[in-house]
């Protein structure tokens, strides 16, 4: 990693000398290793060191963006010129009222040296332990274990100068038998907090418990979703409805419903980049400090997250949720939370006469009917039938097709304990959610395993 001083001393003169009216630089440096395993052997083992610098320039209201991963003075100069050339040949962006100004952001501990320097040998030793645990039950395991560090800096000609070092550790474990599988994963800024052995035991137990799964007819059932499954729903809901763009386009499930009750009173969905029980990250890619924003509060639609451009369109202020300058979605909620309840998984199962426990989903898609947040997807790696308060047996995987507005209106219980679940943006955020018990959840199809 370059460190704050080196980045600032490299980029500050470039910004100062830029002929643009306003200039912004976003720097992302990273180095990470990932050990991938399947059939209880390591089959892919990779390391990457990379950088990215984005320049966004403004000539009046004409904007240009250019990026490079080559961090020398010549390349930076060429990239800035590319951004300027685009801006000169551009049309105006009416919503551009200037780059954000300087603001203070929360100091957070987001970097752990041990995690940053965790070696391929250490990762191999850790997964070898997982293989041995699974082997005792004549199971095999598959998954990935990654560790690494990154740093993000945002500088602009309005004196914004933000810097944050980050580390992350993530493992996913799928235990496999001839006809069943079980899954667990863990995510943290610190590799010491992963509890790999405990996660392996969860995956193994789920695999053993779901052996010889039985066929099950689709229909409406009470469903208990473990946090991983809840997070997968939230990930798609974020994409189709929690950013300002989707609200402005009218495609969001919040469009036309702000102030209305759209979910159960026990459901609150919010974003908080400063909460350290997530992959906290205190500012966005425009250097705006992150605000805690409720999208849904006690079932009522409250709003969406903004960057500076989308905020101008809605005559409001940025909430600190800008994505990198080349991203068309502009703003998304990267540190999503669902408010905890007072239940737990055991109570949820014990209070269920007939229902289904879902460990995780596969291949969810939310583009069917975005205004009603209709999602579809398959269950996988541990789907169980519950009868009279007990898990009876594993069942073959099912397809759900359901409106999340309906599902989240039928939430009977939420767990007190929440879990951080990784997403594709996990260096700078994650999804922290409880388990949920939902009534009348619609399964629409089945498969053969």
């Amino acid at each position: 990693m370059m460190g704050k001083e080196k980045i600032f001393s490299l980029l500050t003169p470039v910004i100062k000398k830029s002929p643009a009216d306003q200039t912004e630089a976003v720097v992302i440096n990273s180095q990470a290793g990932l050990t991938r395993y399947a059939n209880s052997t390591i089959h892919q083992n990779v390391y990457e060191v990379n950088s990215k610098v984005y320049f966004r320039v403004a000539l009046g209201k004409k904007l240009g963006v250019a990026a490079t991963n080559v961090l020398n003075k010549e390349s930076l100069k060429k990239t800035l010129e590319n951004a300027l050339s685009i801006a000169r040949n551009q049309r105006e962006t009416p919503d551009f009222t200037g780059l954000p100004g300087q603001a203070s952001y929360k100091k957070l501990k987001t970097h752990y040296k041990k995690t940053a320097n965790f070696s391929p040998q250490q990762r191999a030793e850790a997964v070898k332990g997982v293989f041995e645990l699974a082997g005792k039950h004549k199971l095999t395991v598959a998954g990935a274990f990654s560790t690494g560090e990154s740093e993000v800096a945002v500088l602009n000609s309005n004196r914004v100068a933000c810097y944050q070092p980050l580390s992350s550790a993530y493992i996913n474990i799928t235990a496999m038998s001839d006809n069943s599988s079980g899954y667990a994963d863990g995510l943290s800024r610190s590799v010491d907090e992963l509890e790999i052995e405990r996660l392996a035991e969860i995956a193994i137990q789920k695999c053993l418990d779901s052996r010889n799964p039985q066929g099950f007819q689709p229909g409406e059932y009470t469903v208990i979703l473990e946090p991983k499954a809840v997070a997968e729903l939230l990930e798609w809901m974020n994409y189709i409805g929690l950013g300002a763009k989707s609200l402005q386009d009218g495609t969001s499930f919040l469009a036309g419903k702000i102030g209305q009750r759209i979910m159960g009173e026990n459901v609150s969905i919010y974003d908080d980049g400063n909460d350290e029980y997530s992959m906290a990250f205190p500012f966005d890619f425009e250097g705006v400090p992150k605000k805690k924003i409720f999208m849904v509060r006690n079932g009522e639609a409250k709003g969406v997250v903004y960057d500076s451009l989308t905020a101008t369109k809605d005559k409001t202020k940025s909430t600190g949720h800008a994505l990198t300058p080349d991203t068309p979605e502009r703003a998304l909620a990267l540190n999503l939370f669902v408010k905890a309840g007072d239940s737990n998984l055991k109570k949820m199962i014990e209070s269920t006469g007939q229902g289904i426990l879902v460990t995780r989903f596969h291949y969810i898609n939310g583009l069917i009917d975005t205004n009603n947040a209709v999602l579809t997807g398959m269950t996988r790696d541990g789907t169980f039938y519950i009868e009279k308060g007990r898990i009876k047996h594993g069942i073959k995987n099912l397809r759900f097709t359901e409106s999340m507005l309906k599902a989240f209106s039928n939430v009977e219980q939420l767990s007190r304990q929440r879990r951080m679940v990784a997403s594709w943006w996990s260096d700078v955020g994650c999804i922290t959610v409880p388990a949920m018990k939902i009534n009348n959840f619609r399964f629409t199809g089945k498969t053969e395993f």
């Binding site: 009218g250 209709v374 498969t447």
Partner: protein, 480 residues
């Protein structure tokens, strides 16, 4: 830079590796998006780096860097070797590679008009004009247009002596008209949804798209969908449009024939495959009308190249022949299972990713009938057009697709339009009901630029040469 590569290969040979290869890749891209005549984003990007893959005592290691200096080449080579040693800690069976010829060659993809030399003004004018045409319809709330261009310049070298250079240019784009009323939105896309159509061609591909000719139609259809009835639940005959067939082939055939999935090495993320080894040569995957092949030499296909990222020459392989499952997509490692050479489908998403078995162009052979004849030959059914959503289980059996629009077919004619159509099925059951594929006049190679696989995630650009096709007894319904 070639000197760094040659010196590093020589150093790795001295270290006694079983095999090693190096890919140095420079990728440039230009992305332009105009929405409601406003500049949604115009950006250019440059990405340069190298990756070293080492097989040492039967175990893999890979290290990559964005700094192609002599010192960094040496550091990454050492690191790749260390990582391979770490992989060896759990190795049970050493990895072996199928034989491959040594090539010294250069491949340049088709490109008549260099898209990076076409002025930004011309590109913006095209997209603004497309927005204007869509916004002429007062029912359109969002007119969204985009153009995207990519060029990768790659040098590949391995310890067996291959040295291959490739320059591949890709162009693509499209438009979406979104109509909104009373809290409901409906959209129509051209030429395809999810950012349009793509090819390994130059700006001539964009010109041939004739974007402006279709804006009035998609706007009219998007608005009409708002008033259309919900697609009724039924089991019926369907004719699937070409652009939706591309995704149907992609999800239900392209992925399950990836041999790494079959062998369980993608199980934790993308999943496995129902097309297991015991089914090769035996499974009646589809009806005799179904002939599917992988072809990395399809002219202009988004999955076309000269050599794959293990240095195997681009080729054509039969996958489904008269409905029978006859072949997988393989790598040099997995092909040893059949004591055959690789069929050249190892592809990496840039210098910082290892190659994985990926689709090239997975093509459905055209049949004999025209689309008009096929519709005329259908007494009752639905014509389903343009993908909206896609989902399939982790062994690629239970699929569900939503499409943008459906039209009733009654007594050989298109009639009522329906909104929110969804169809679902089990892969081999579905393909065995296929009784006709349209002829070569309707056959087009659709570019799919967003195929995800692997950890860390890799996004691959693949192609599907397909024509509309007819299937029977398919479960269809509405989203509600």
């Amino acid at each position: 830079m070639k000197e760094n590569i040659k010196e590093t290969i020589a150093w790795l040979r001295k270290k006694g590796v079983d095999y090693a290869d190096i890919r140095q890749v420079k990728r440039i891209s230009e992305n332009i998006r105009v929405k409601n005549r406003e500049m949604e984003g115009v950006s250019k990007s440059e990405d340069l780096g190298f990756g070293i893959r080492v097989l040492y005592r039967g175990a893999w290691g890979f290290a990559s860097s964005n700094n192609p200096s002599k010192g960094e080449y040496k550091r990454m080579a050492g690191l790749a070797l260390d990582i391979a040693r770490a992989s060896g800690l759990t190795q049970r069976e050493p990895v072996r590679l199928a034989e491959n010829e040594v090539y010294k060659d250069k491949f340049i993809s088709l490109c008549q008009i260099d898209p990076f030399k076409v002025s930004l003004d011309e590109k913006l004018n095209l997209l603004i004009s497309a927005c204007d045409l869509m916004l002429k319809n007062p029912g359109i709330r969002v007119a969204d247009t985009s153009l995207n261009f990519f060029r990768s310049e790659q040098i590949f070298a391995n310890t067996e002596g291959s040295l291959i250079e490739q320059i591949i240019t890709e162009s693509g784009g499209g438009a979406v008209a979104t109509a909104a009323r009373n809290g409901e939105t409906q959209w129509r896309s051209y030429p395809n949804s999810h950012s349009g159509d793509y090819a390994t061609r130059g700006y001539e591909f964009i010109q041939e798209m004739r974007l402006l000719d279709q804006m009035e139609r998609i706007s009219r259809e998007a608005v009409a969908l708002l008033s259309a009835p919900e697609c009724p639940n039924q089991e019926t005959t369907i004719i699937v449009s070409g652009n939706q067939m591309a995704l149907q082939v992609h999800e239900s055939c392209g992925h399950p024939i990836e041999l790494d999935r079959v062998l369980g090495t993608e199980i934790s993320l993308a999943g496995g495959s129902f097309m297991t080894l015991d089914k090769l040569g035996k499974l009646q995957y589809g009806s005799p009308q179904v002939n599917i092949y992988a072809d990395a030499t399809t002219p202009g296909g988004l999955g076309s190249f000269g050599y794959d990222d293990e240095g195997v020459k681009a080729q054509r392989t039969d996958i489904i022949k008269q409905g029978r499952f006859v072949g997988y997509l393989t790598s040099r490692e997995t092909a040893t299972l059949f004591k055959q050479p690789s069929n050249g489908t190892m592809r990496a998403d840039g210098w910082n990713r290892i190659p994985l078995i990926r689709m090239t162009n997975i093509n459905l052979e055209p049949g004999e009938v025209s689309l008009e004849e096929l519709i005329a030959d259908t007494r009752q059914g639905l014509f389903l057009d343009t993908n909206k959503s896609w989902s399939i289980d982790d062994k690629r059996l239970n699929f569900q697709f939503a499409v943008e629009a459906a039209w009733e077919i009654r007594d050989g004619k298109l009639g009522q339009m329906y909104k929110n159509p969804i169809y679902t099925g089990i892969t081999p059951e579905f393909w065995n009901t296929c009784d006709a594929v349209c002829n070569k006049n309707h056959w087009h190679v659709w570019g799919v630029p967003n195929c995800g696989k692997g950890e860390p995630m890799q996004t691959m650009h693949v192609g599907h040469g397909v024509a509309p096709a007819r299937f029977s007894k398919v479960k269809v319904g509405g989203a509600k």
